[in-house]
Assembly symmetry: C2
Amino acid sequence: MLSDVMEDYLKAIYQIQSTSGAPVATSAVAEYLGKTPPTVTSMFGKLEERGLLEREKYKGVELTEEGETVALEVLRHHRLLEAYLAEHLDYSWSEVHDEADALEHHISEEFERRVAEVLGNPTVDPHGDPIPTADLAPIDHEEADTLGDHGVGDRVVVTRVSDREEEELEYLENAGVLPGTRLDVVDVAPFGMVTVRTEGGDEQSLPDSVAASIRVRPFEGDPAGGETNGTGDDSDGSNGEVPTT
Amino acid sequence: MLSDVMEDYLKAIYQIQSTSGAPVATSAVAEYLGKTPPTVTSMFGKLEERGLLEREKYKGVELTEEGETVALEVLRHHRLLEAYLAEHLDYSWSEVHDEADALEHHISEEFERRVAEVLGNPTVDPHGDPIPTADLAPIDHEEADTLGDHGVGDRVVVTRVSDREEEELEYLENAGVLPGTRLDVVDVAPFGMVTVRTEGGDEQSLPDSVAASIRVRPFEGDPAGGETNGTGDDSDGSNGEVPTT
DNA sequence: TATTTCCTTTAGATGCGTCTAAATCCTCGC
DNA sequence: GCGAGGATTTAGACGCATCTAAAGGAAATA
């Protein structure tokens, strides 16, 4: 009934709404999806007609309950696929996104069910993003600390790294900064740079923009750096984590 | 570069070409894809412009080498997906087709590689259809015996059951007629019906139309019916089999 | 407050894939 | 060898998703 493109718009609006709050601007969606503003305006009209969003002219849009449900469905497909690709087809953490984007509109409900079952109904994907439940219940979008919020001496565990830049994800993957990784903040430079010690003992410096996209929670446990984590095996979501991407 | 729809046309032309021979009629493609003849004519024009097929007006079309390569690529995706779904996601033999159709245009080369690897580079899919090799070398389309070619007393092994009717496949699956199954022909009725004994000892009667879509080879080995086969584990293609679907 | 600047929307056009209706061509039977 | 019937193609239209160019509204600044 809905086209792939419409699903993409709903997903985009949902994501922007989740991070930046309610009325979502035409230009924000245009930039997110790589379309021109008139194209977006035109699609807003169609989605409004179908009752998937509400529009206040020149102000922006907001998803209706129905529109949000569609977005959650697509997001569930996306994140289940990411988890599956990482776990069963040996995709690296940074590679999963594009493949999931390509497939998310085309899998059947049956496929969704079976993938979820094989994975043991995971609650987070390899980036630490929460996977909507099968009943597509709304997700609670609490604000979580980011690495950028912390100062020297703080010890944290990475919970989520959501970013659409594959290169950035690749870099972090190589640096050993993944969901589940423990980090010690060893320096905060005044010009927008955070330096952390990873579990392996290496030090990594990250620009603020990157640090701001790394969600963390305070670490409680042993001090020194052992060999605790791996890539994406925390698939039961026991880190008290929250939505956004 | 090519749209999903174009790929579908090329695949359809390839399939028809493989079974019914060279110039493929507009109407044949129209029926195969559920489109009207003018729509097909129009698409033939576009595919010709791109050098993917050759057209003789009012006669029909034939794929160029390039067009055939595209068709083989799509078919490789399709059949690898079918094999993967059956083997790793617990799909039944009759369910795989539709899901593979939906996904075949959207998987990356990387995905293709990894699926092939996980499956151990299978040469046939769960229906017994040959999977094009990674280099997309042309497939040799020999004619194989069908169940309908055989008479009372013949003992055969099913090599391929290619059909687009899900219900028919479901029926055969329940009847225990699958690639690898041994069958004894016990009766051939004059009004278009073949009766076979399956490995389990059950007798099944099948109309000629169905018998004609079941490819077989003569059975050489022990007589009686044991418990040899399963559903789709003959994925190395050791049955000397041939193309069509 | 007036103006400038930026954002959004309207207007109009394009390419794709599809359709129906009508014209054209091929072939088979007489 | 001619005509009838069936297949194919042309003609013309439509909906979708997109664009560029131009017009209109909102908000910030002077």
